[in-house]
């Protein structure tokens, strides 16, 4: 017992014989972090995303120019000393627009990544837990949404609700939830009849409590992995909507819309489309690397031999 005081915090976390439940839980998290840290690619992704967040927070300080100020005499300038990444077709500084655009990207990704899994979690666990006709109905609805072509469904919603960043987010969330529902339902089915659920039920826990207190926590880790892997897809879909003019509205510097702006100039002024393209690529790559690393840590099936 007395040894404990002399242990480093590291040893305390990594001990084979945790003293408390809290120690065990923290230890597991630390163990996961060590695995994650050993994955260089995943760390690279994490660093990029942290940089992105910093960039979004301090955008007005970091951007050399206003993202909106036009200068028609200084349009389509190649990358150089005055404009590091060049200027677009209205003479706006591309770097400043990219920096401010990071806020929009984070907003889209953050919101969709929050809404879609929650809808999916709710629908999936309720379906799996309740079974019977509730399951049937919910899963039919899920199937209907799954059978829709994604981008077309999103397009339809945006067209119906009106173009704009808020509606684009909503549309993406509506197209993104069904796989989460399937996943959550499958997880629920495997644990529904587990002993500890039966035990909790015997103790008098109502269905709501079972759902929220016992089933949701167990579904969350596989959902998180899935979300991390989906983030890149969300960014690309949002960019696709922006590319089709249905996402963020001008003059907002949304990256997909910026590519769309640059599309007409791609053969002669490559940087106008290439810079936002590169930005999208780097960020979604970062999310993919992170998600891949997270899967190794969190997904019990995929990683451990």
């Amino acid at each position: 017992m007395s040894d404990v005081q002399y242990q480093s915090r590291r040893d305390w976390l990594l001990t084979d014989a945790p003293q408390t439940r809290r120690q065990a839980r923290l230890g597991a998290i630390y163990q996961g972090w060590l695995t994650f840290r050993a994955n260089k690619l995943a760390m690279f992704g994490l660093v990029i995303l942290i940089l992105l967040i910093v960039m979004a927070i301090f955008a007005p300080l970091l951007a050399p120019y206003s993202p909106f100020s036009q200068d028609l005499t200084n349009r389509l300038q190649p990358p150089g000393a005055a404009n590091w990444l060049g200027t677009d077709h209205l003479g706006r500084d591309i770097m400043s627009r990219l920096i401010h655009g990071s806020r929009i990207t984070l907003f889209i990704v953050g919101t969709v990544a929050l809404i879609a899994p929650i809808i999916g979690l709710f629908v999936g666990t309720v379906a799996g837990f309740a079974g019977g006709w509730v399951d049937q109905v919910l899963m039919r609805i899920t199937d209907i949404f799954l059978a829709f072509p994604k981008l077309i469904l999103a397009l339809a919603f945006v067209a119906a609700l009106g173009a704009g960043i808020g509606n684009a987010v909503l549309a993406l969330a509506i197209t993104a939830w069904p796989p989460y529902a399937r996943l959550a339902r499958a997880e629920t089915l495997t644990i529904r009849n587990a002993d500890f659920i039966a035990a909790a039920r015997l103790q008098g826990a109502g269905p709501m409590r079972l759902l929220i207190g016992h089933i949701w926590p167990l579904c969350i880790s596989s959902l998180i992995v899935r979300v991390a892997l989906d983030m890149a897809g969300i960014i690309l879909s949002a960019a696709g909507l922006g590319f089709l003019g249905l996402g963020a509205q001008p003059p907002m510097p949304e990256w997909g819309a910026m590519i769309s702006d640059g599309r007409t100039y791609i053969l002669d002024f490559w940087w106008v489309a290439a810079m936002p393209g590169l930005a999208i690529f780097i960020v979604s790559l970062a999310f993919n690397l992170l998600g891949d690393g997270l899967r190794d840590v969190l997904d019990p099936k995929g990683a451990k031999e």
């Binding site: 028609l72 599309r263 007409t264 053969l267």
Partner: protein, 532 residues
């Protein structure tokens, strides 16, 4: 088993038999055109009203009067009608038909066909029918008003319209002469052959419609017995290519002869390439700014004036609209009878700012809808920036063309930025929509009139002048009348013409006599030749 063997045999045989063929350029008697042609809905000249549909019908059909592809400025010329005569009272025109002309079917072109075609267009009453019905024809009276006798055809109108007005309208596609005998064989119910003609041709034009695949291609073949001589290009293929960059790459590679939708940057780039030339033609479309008079801010006269100073006319025309638009501040496109070249407005933010402040309108916000076309969104963004400098906030919502149009027709677009294209080659086509609005109430529902859509109550005098100009028999006086209307319009109207469309066409070096149709008509292929 047998089947399998066969397939294998074919595979083998074809692999051995045919040597690789590389086509660096298109064949000498085939003209290949890249264009966006996804707007075609129907090829029936009584219905077709889209740009690309007209491009087809203009070549597969003839009209009583037509333009000369080598000199459009001469105006309408005799075509299927050899000559015409206006009656003493100005109420009727009698045409004498040319002899010996045949349709693609081999049937002779008769006065009866011409009369039936015009009657058919009026009776079908599809969208472009107004071009004919504005002369007083209705489904009920048209058989009495449009008559034939032997090889003459007579139109009897309700008023003594200016002959130039009537004949200009007869150059429009809806006045195309169709092969009555052939169409009668394909009538379904009451449709007068409309369904069949949507996909087939029954004309006498220089080209025969070989095929139309929606969103993909239109193919035409030469009509060897064409009355003005068989065209040099034996096949014309119009391929739907959406992206300007794709059109440019294909033009540079020699896969196509003509690229019709090049953006300014691509035009600039290809004009430097060897073997390619650019032909600029002014087109009839006017890009204008409509200020909705239902809007409390925009109906303020000082704001209307200020807005005219907030467009960076030359800056825009020299930068992102370069080579696509030229500054043009009156509603008749140059090239039309009575067109006005005066440019009273300049870009002056300070002056606009002063006007807005004086009117107490500083700090107001306007939210408008803009069609998601590159050009319009860019103009809107430029306007947004200069309005911000002058103390007004402009919010832009991008939408599809259909959505914006819906809202515009419901008078719900505060600042409209878009184009208006003339319907026929007479000044009345624009005057009657920009400067004519007899009833400005919501109930009038005059959705066809631009003035109504912007809730602009056109002054009585101006409206009357517009009507009077259609009846003026003397051409020169008529031109002066239109110029006077436009000057007054520039001074007070809340609808502000900004630019006129220029169409740059990318052509392979050898292509000669390409004619996009300028301001007055559609593309004409029959004069095109390809040298070395």
């Amino acid at each position: 088993m047998n089947k399998l063997l066969n397939t294998r045999a074919i595979l083998l045989a074809s692999a051995l038999a045919i040597a690789p063929a590389a086509y660096a350029e298109t064949p000498a008697d085939v003209l290949v055109v890249a264009h966006t042609i996804d707007d075609i809905i129907s090829l029936d000249p009584a219905q077709s009203f889209e740009f690309s549909g007209n491009d087809v019908s203009n070549n597969t059909y003839d009209r009583l009067v037509d333009f000369d592809p080598l000199d459009l400025d001469k105006g309408f010329q005799p075509s299927l009608a050899e000559s015409w005569e206006v009656s003493e009272d100005g109420l009727s025109i009698t045409f004498t038909m040319r002899e010996g002309v045949t349709f693609h079917s081999g049937n002779p072109v008769r006065a009866e066909d011409a009369a039936w075609s015009l009657q058919r267009a009026v009776k079908l009453d599809k969208t472009p029918a107004f071009i004919l019905t504005q002369f007083g024809f209705t489904a009920d009276n048209v058989e009495q008003k449009i008559t034939f006798e032997g090889n003459t055809l007579t139109l009897t109108m309700d008023k003594p319209y200016a002959p130039s007005f009537v004949l200009n309208c007869l150059t429009a596609n809806i006045a195309s002469v169709v092969d009555k005998e052939l169409v009668m064989q394909h009538v379904e119910g009451e449709d007068m052959g409309n369904t069949w003609l949507s996909n087939n041709d029954a004309g006498s034009g220089a080209y025969v419609l070989a095929s139309w695949t929606p969103n993909e291609a239109v193919q035409l073949t030469a009509y060897e017995d064409y009355f003005q001589g068989a065209p040099a290009m034996k096949r014309v293929i119009v391929k739907n290519v959406q992206e300007s960059s794709a059109q440019r790459l294909q033009l540079e590679a020699g896969d196509i002869d003509v690229a019709r939708n090049l953006t300014p940057t691509d035009v600039e780039a290809v004009s430097a390439s060897e073997g390619i030339k650019i032909q600029d033609e002014p087109r009839g479309r006017i890009l204008y700014m409509g200020l909705n008079q239902k809007d409390e801010v925009l109906s303020n006269p000082a704001v209307i004036e200020a807005m005219k100073y907030l467009v960076n006319y030359q800056g825009i025309a020299d930068s992102f609209l370069k080579g696509q638009f030229m500054v043009h501040q009156s509603f008749l496109p140059s090239g039309y009878l009575g067109a006005l070249d005066e440019m009273p407005w300049t870009y002056d933010v300070e002056k606009a700012k002063a006007l807005i402040e004086e009117a107490g309108m500083s700090g107001k916000t306007i939210t408008t809808k803009v069609r998601d076309l590159r050009e319009y969104v860019d103009v809107a963004q430029a306007l947004q920036a200069s309005m911000a400098e002058a103390g007004l906030t402009l919010n832009i919502e991008q939408m599809t063309g259909a959505q914006v149009l819906d809202a515009y027709r419901a008078r719900e677009v505060p600042i409209f930025l878009g184009e208006w294209g003339p319907d026929y080659s007479d000044p009345n086509t624009n005057a009657a929509t920009f400067a004519y609005n007899p009833d400005n109430s919501d109930e009038a529902n005059a959705t066809g009139l631009l003035a109504w859509r912007n809730a602009y109550a056109v002054p009585q005098a101006m409206g009357d002048a517009t009507v009077a100009a259609t009846l003026e028999q003397d051409g020169d006086t008529r031109a002066t009348m239109y110029q006077d209307i436009q000057r007054q319009y520039q001074a007070e109207a809340p609808i502000v013409p900004l630019f006129q469309r220029i169409e740059p066409t990318g052509l392979r070096e050898g292509v000669e006599n390409w004619q996009s149709g300028k301001t007055v008509t559609s593309v004409i292929y029959r004069a095109v030749t390809k040298g070395e």
